[in-house]
């Protein structure tokens, strides 16, 4: 049974291997460890975001405001850095987490206390947070020359041969893995997605757990905000416009069911990697980057068709696992 549970992730992994193999035929250097490390690094931000989105989707909710949160928080830390270059980077990361947390808590509060469906709340905050970015920046950009060398260099510094950005991604993945599989809150998140009514009777505070979940996705959005801005060294209102759907796409490809309760940390990571590999590979195998959108669209449809088979069975297996534990 346990092997069966990893079925979906294994299939996805096989698909990724096949993809890398196909690309290698056209461009032999692609499967090089150094290049794959680069691809991982390039996909780090999407992986982190997909994990944040995953916990929300698991509870049958959705967070459409993550990309706007990223944009707003990124602008806040960029402006702080431009105005006060002396603030150390770890402090800025804490600020980014805190700002993201506040934005996420606003979503969570509206979902929890007012019972407004999350898609409506985050559709509203999606436009509000991006608009707020314009208000705080006055429409101006923060350019590379206004950012301190530390601000740009922190995530690029190599530690044990791997950039800090990749380390942050690995840390977040490990953290999510522990929380989702080894803690009560992780179990509650799955339980709410599988059966909210039964969760109430099991003593889970559904509303508060949803609030926590939005706080998590908010903090992730904030963290990704700093990482995104320091990576692409420009902060503007247009940052990550429309990216919320890429994040959801990564989750869907990773086998996370939009109906809640089904999905894993590994799936979200692999789903993001799949999209990351496609966007990295297209230029090197001489396919116009304009193909990327159609390809990822087809991948989403294909993934959801494949995932729909046996989704019901999968749900029961998770329950059985919980019973056994």
């Amino acid at each position: 049974m346990k092997n069966f549970l990893k079925y979906r992730e294994l299939w996805l992994l096989a698909g990724i291997m096949l993809l890398i193999g196909l690309i290698s035929i056209r461009f032999p250097g692609f499967a090089d460890p150094a290049n794959l490390r680069q691809v991982f690094n390039d996909t780090s931000i999407l992986m982190i975001l997909a994990l944040g989105q995953m916990v929300v989707i698991l509870t049958r909710s959705i967070d459409l405001s993550m990309a706007s949160n990223l944009c707003f928080t990124g602008m806040v830390v960029a402006m702080l850095n431009a105005a006060h270059p002396a603030i150390p980077i770890p402090m800025l990361i804490v600020i980014a987490l805190a700002v993201g947390l506040v934005l996420g808590a606003i979503n969570g509060f509206l979902v929890w206390r007012l019972n407004i469906p999350s898609i409506v709340v985050t559709l509203g905050t999606l436009t509000i947070y991006r608009g707020a970015t314009f208000v705080i920046s006055g429409g101006a950009w923060v350019n590379a020359d206004q950012m301190s060398p530390d601000f740009i260099g922190f995530q690029r510094a190599a530690f044990l041969g791997i950039p800090v950005l990749s380390w942050i991604a690995l840390l977040v993945i490990a953290l999510f893995f522990v929380v989702m599989t080894r803690t009560a809150i992780g179990r509650s998140i799955y339980a709410i997605g599988v059966n909210p009514t039964a969760s109430v009777y099991a003593g889970i505070n559904v509303g508060r757990t949803k609030f926590i979940v939005f706080c998590i996705s908010g903090m992730i959005g904030g963290l990704a905000g700093y990482l995104w801005i320091s990576r692409y060294v420009i902060a503007s209102v247009e940052v990550a416009n429309g990216y919320e759907l890429n994040i959801i796409a990564a989750c869907v490809i990773g086998g996370i069911s939009i109906a809640g309760g089904i999905g894993s940390v590994g799936g979200a990571v692999l789903g993001a990697l799949f999209l990351g590999i496609i966007s990295n590979a297209l230029p090197v195998i001489n396919i116009s980057p304009f193909w990327q959108m159609a390809i990822s669209g087809s991948a989403i449809i294909l993934a959801v068709v494949l995932n729909a088979r046996g989704e019901r069975r999968q749900g029961r297996i998770i329950l059985r696992k919980a019973e056994a534990a």
């Binding site: 007012l114 407004i116 409506v120 509203g124 509000i128 608009g131 909210p196 759907l245 193909w291």
Partner: protein, 333 residues
């Protein structure tokens, strides 16, 4: 996505028609519309001019046309996030036809047919394969717009025939544009379909309980398929209007329209969980969004700041009745 629906309160007898009309969602929207209208007239001397008001309608007619069909789809418990991408794809196909020398009637036919075909594709995936529509349409959204990007890249199609410009720029009578006329006619048709036909009753019934509908002999799959086709069709029509109004096609055309159309629908009082809503509400919401964006535009407020107001409007209008009810019951938070 599918949050647990609140238990329905079933009253012993229905409210009196008058009081239920006064306390209805539509009445709230009318009050808000009048308020915004009044504020706008005070804030800008240019607002109360027939031509200004006519320009105002262009802010919502295209999205409004899509929102009408989207309302039915959301009432039935589904959603279509690919509408803006359908607009882009239909517009690209029309652009290709122009390069091949097609005339205006052919262009319109292509726009409408491409829209219908895209909607049917969504409908097939959702109803035949039993997939969740939100995921399917996120996928087809990338796919449809992706095809437009493959065909166009960073280019643009221009050179639409002069007679084609009528749809997006023409006036039927004095300041009444063709777009506004089409929107109002479509609103009446959709009102009739939703509120006066058995098909409309089925749409509500499916949104409330698809399983019970299935057992009652309603063809749930086929009804939903028709709704997806209608949404695609309206997107195709909107594409004709937008392309005609702009006179050019870029693959990024109509970006973000899907969220604005959905905002209109939700603001119009349609339950995002399905099963409730009215066309009148959606039409009022379309007017309100047009009023807000146009009024702020006259005050030189940038578009991105307008979006804050739209977002706040959405959340506050949805939250108001909930907060109000809790305050009356004295058990807030």
């Amino acid at each position: 996505m599918t949050d647990t629906p609140a238990p329905r309160h079933i009253p012993d007898r229905l409210d009196k028609p008058l009081s239920s009309a006064i306390f209805s969602w539509e009445a709230l929207l009318v009050v808000i519309a009048v308020l915004i209208f009044a504020v706008n007239s005070f804030a800008s001397p240019y607002f109360l001019d027939p031509w200004s008001l006519s320009d105002l309608t262009f802010n919502f007619t295209e999205k409004g046309l899509i929102a009408l069909a989207m309302a039915l789809l959301i009432i039935s418990g589904e959603i279509d996030l690919s509408v803006a991408a359908i607009v882009a794809l239909a517009s690209t196909m029309m652009g290709m036809a122009v390069q091949a020398g097609a005339g205006t009637p052919v262009l319109v036919a292509i726009g409408v047919v491409v829209g219908l075909a895209c909607g049917a594709f969504n409908g097939l995936l959702v109803t035949r394969l039993g997939l969740p529509s939100i995921v399917v349409t996120i996928g087809t959204m990338s796919l449809f717009r992706g095809i437009a990007f493959i065909i166009l890249g960073d280019q643009a199609y221009k050179g639409y025939p002069e007679s084609f410009a009528f749809f997006g720029q023409g006036y039927v009578w004095w300041v009444v544009s063709f777009e506004l006329t089409l929107f109002l006619v479509a609103a009446v048709i959709y009102w009739f379909i939703l509120h006066r036909t058995s098909f409309g009753r089925r749409v509500f019934a499916i949104g409330n309980n698809p399983v019970a509908c299935q057992f009652s002999g309603v063809r749930v799959g086929r009804t939903k398929f028709i709704l997806f086709c209608l949404t695609g069709l309206m997107s195709g029509i909107a594409s004709v209007l937008i392309t005609s109004r702009l006179g050019s096609t870029r693959p990024s055309i109509a970006q973000g329209y899907e969220l604005e159309a959905i905002t209109m629908v939700v603001l119009g009082g349609v339950s995002i969980l399905g099963g409730a809503g009215s066309i009148l509400g959606v039409v009022l919401a379309a007017f309100i969004m047009g009023l807000v964006t146009f009024g702020l535009g006259l005050l030189n407020v940038p578009g991105i700041v307008m979006s804050i107001f739209i977002g706040l409007l959405l959340i506050i209008v949805i939250a108001l009745p909930i907060v109000w009810r809790r305050l009356r019951e004295g058990r807030f938070a």
